[in-house]
């Protein structure tokens, strides 16, 4: 009885003082959970979405952000946007990369399949000089680097961040040159809203409408693929491995039971 009384006292004490962890002026807002095509063990990317996402990345993000772990050849590989080889080479050729000519002089030439995506700035100092001393991070693995560990949370965060700009609340001390975004740690971010209006990007077939939300989803899909280009291969092998192991474990279980059938234990 004494113990129970003590226990209930502890519980009452605990709940009386309980405070829910709540957002203040600087705690980043938790991103809303989105439904993504690639969710779950059987999820795959939507090719068209990745192709649109590449276009958004190319026309919007790439003016400030590098993506230096991705090569043009990746754009036509299985499990990605899967452009045809001809399309991929044509897309590469639209981009100029630095190279040396036969005399050792630096030149610009159209990119080939083997080239990495070029960086918009020569180096970090140049990037900072052009961006109010902020350094736009490389986007190659950003979808993994911003996840809170659970598959899908990185993309949720990126989507929330891209679409989450708003007016700073009254009394918020916004530093000059920064933008208010409640999903960013500290609530102020150097990146201006990247997607400012519907129809900012025009895709070839015009479908689905290029709303801000659609463009954001597509570019997040593209960044998610770029961070994990072997996701489809991984999940499809995983399903086969799991089925094999499940059958094997059932057989081993019965083998174990059969071996032990005459032994009391």
């Amino acid at each position: 009885m004494k113990l129970r009384a003590l226990l209930s006292l502890v519980v009452v004490f605990a709940f009386a003082g309980v405070a829910l962890a709540e957002g203040d002026q600087t705690t980043p807002k938790h991103p809303e959970t989105q439904t993504w095509e690639w969710d779950g063990p059987f999820g795959t990317f939507d090719r068209r979405q990745l192709q649109r996402g590449y276009q958004v990345y190319k026309e919007v993000c790439a003016s400030c952000h590098s993506m230096n772990l991705v090569s043009f050849r990746n754009l036509s590989q299985p499990g990605g946007p899967e452009f045809s080889d001809a399309q991929m080479k044509a897309l590469a050729a639209l981009v100029q990369v630095s190279a040396l000519d036969d005399n050792g002089e630096p030149v610009q030439r159209p990119a080939t399949a083997a080239d990495r995506f070029p960086s918009p700035f020569a180096n970090e100092k140049a990037a900072r000089a052009a961006n109010n001393n902020a350094y736009p991070p490389d986007l190659s693995v950003i979808a993994k680097a911003r996840a809170h560990g659970i598959e899908g949370e990185g993309p949720d965060y990126l989507y929330a961040l891209i679409t989450g700009y708003s007016e700073a609340p009254a009394g918020f001390q916004l530093l000059p040159g920064l933008n208010y975004n409640p999903y960013f740690a500290g609530h102020q971010i150097a990146m201006p809203p990247p997607l400012s209006s519907d129809g900012q990007v025009t895709w070839a077939d015009g479908n689905p409408p290029a709303t801000k939300s659609q463009m954001a989803k597509d570019v997040v899909a593209f960044m998610t693929w770029a961070a994990d280009p072997k996701m489809e291969e991984r999940k499809s092998l995983g399903v086969k491995v799991m089925i094999f192991l499940a059958l094997l474990s059932i057989m081993l279980f019965f083998a174990y039971k059969r071996v032990w059938r005459d032994v009391a234990h």
């Binding site: 605990a14 962890a21 993994k144 961070a227 174990y256 032994v263 009391a264 234990h265």
Partner: protein, 430 residues
């Protein structure tokens, strides 16, 4: 060997010839096939085999990864990503290796707590227990060294925090730390030596594992009843009885690992480690890998660095004294009602320390579901740390000397028969 006699008979001319020169087949037959094993081992006893498998898996995947990895501060991060993108099945090797480390630790913690619960550390298995502690310490070192190799933010800052422990040593701390770094800060020379040591230590572990298994085969397995094997009726041959059981358990364990590897490969890691190391940007919140979290909480519970470091290492070294701190003449906590409850309290305290290790230092304790309990983290970690040491150094000796044990069965065979016929036949504990 402890119980039963062996009857290895070389069958053909070659095995007879070999047996009189290098009796390796005899050794294998005696230790892996015929070895008499208590017939009442439960699934908690399958983790020894699982751990052996994990060590082999880590070495195999690690050797392949080392063929492609570049231990250089400007190239390490990108080389890991290149493994994941351009090496055939490189993503599989890398995710098996990184998740394999976590699964290795899950298995070793279950193995250690199983040893605690059934009193496997008590005579005559003290050396077995001590060798286990050596393996665990080597695993901790190897895991830490491996975590620095991708050279992400958590790699770099984790390495900085951990190597700074040594600066707490009086007088020579700074010199020792710089000697470990090979430099005046964590940098390329640190990364290269960490890679070298990360490749070396698993083979040292393998060597101590051989000793561990040797030390197991002298007294033989303990068992959930904690009583000695009395005769052949208490045992079965290791093969096929425990090979089939261990294999089944292993495959189930591998399925859990495969869930992480194939469907949630970054769940057990930290997102910040996909940000390349940057010595100018300290992450807001440096956390070690999950398997160090309770020790990290012990470290941070005292403001003094030297005492914190000593307590952290002491939290593991105290296990080494357990065989002599526990004065009871009954092994298994099954028959020691007070020790049994204390065991579960110790588990909860260790879990809370783990939660504290994952949280930032200041503020109130963040329980689950976003609940914040009105108790400061510092205070709670101090209470838990004190309790942790009290458990081993004070409570265990006192309780084990005074505890009235429940009746212990005559033998494994009678206990098994009693359980099957529901007619308990037992004698009281000595």
């Amino acid at each position: 060997m402890a119980h039963g006699t062996y009857s290895y008979q070389p069958k053909n001319a070659f095995t007879k010839w070999l047996d009189s020169r290098l009796p390796i087949l005899r050794l294998m037959d005696e230790t892996m096939l015929q070895f008499p094993t208590p017939k009442n081992l439960n699934y908690w006893y399958t983790f020894g085999g699982i751990l052996t498998f994990m060590l082999v898996l880590q070495i195999l995947t690690g050797v392949v990864l080392a063929m492609h990895y570049v231990p250089h501060e400007t190239m390490a991060f990108d080389s890991v990503e290149r493994i994941m993108r351009d090496v055939n099945y490189g993503w599989l090797m890398r995710y098996l290796h990184s998740n394999g480390a976590s699964m290795f630790f899950i298995a070793v913690y279950l193995h250690i707590f199983r040893g605690l619960y059934y009193g496997s550390y008590k005579a005559p298995r003290e050396v077995l227990w001590l060798l286990g502690i050596v393996i665990y310490l080597l695993m901790m070192a190897t895991g830490f060294l491996g975590y620095t190799l991708p050279w992400g933010q958590m790699s770099f800052w984790g390495a900085t925090v951990i190597t700074n422990f040594f600066s707490a040593i009086p007088f020579v701390g700074e010199a020792v730390t710089q000697w470990l770094w090979g430099s005046f800060a964590v940098d390329n020379s640190t990364l290269q030596r960490f890679f070298s040591l990360h490749y070396l230590l698993p083979f040292v572990i393998a060597g101590v594992v051989v000793l561990h298994i040797w030390a197991l085969h002298v007294p033989g397995n303990n068992n959930p009843l904690g009583i000695d094997v009395k005769g052949a009726a208490d045992t079965v041959a290791f093969h096929p009885y425990y090979t089939t059981k261990d294999l089944f358990a292993l495959v189930v364990f591998v399925m859990v690992m495969c869930y992480f590897v194939f469907f949630n490969p970054n769940f057990l890691g930290h997102a910040d480690n996909y940000i390349p190391a940057n010595r100018l940007v300290t992450p807001p919140h440096i956390v070690p890998e999950w398997y160090y979290l309770p020790l990290y909480a012990v470290l941070r519970s005292v403001p003094d660095k030297l005492i914190g470091v000593l307590l952290m290492f002491g939290a593991i070294l105290v296990w080494a004294f357990l065989p002599w701190l526990d004065r009871s003449n009954v092994r298994s906590y099954k028959f020691r009602p007070v020790s049994r409850q204390l065991f579960f309290i110790l588990l909860i305290v260790t879990w809370i320390l783990g939660m504290l290790g994952a949280q930032s230092v200041d503020g109130d304790f963040e329980f689950y579901f976003g609940l914040v309990l009105p108790i400061s983290k510092l205070f709670l970690s101090q209470i838990c740390t004190i309790y942790y040491f009290l458990h081993f150094l004070v409570i265990t000796p006192l309780v084990s000397m005074n505890e009235k044990a429940l009746p212990v069965p005559e033998s494994i065979a009678t206990a098994v028969l009693a359980r099957n016929s529901h007619a308990p036949k037992a004698r009281s504990a000595g």
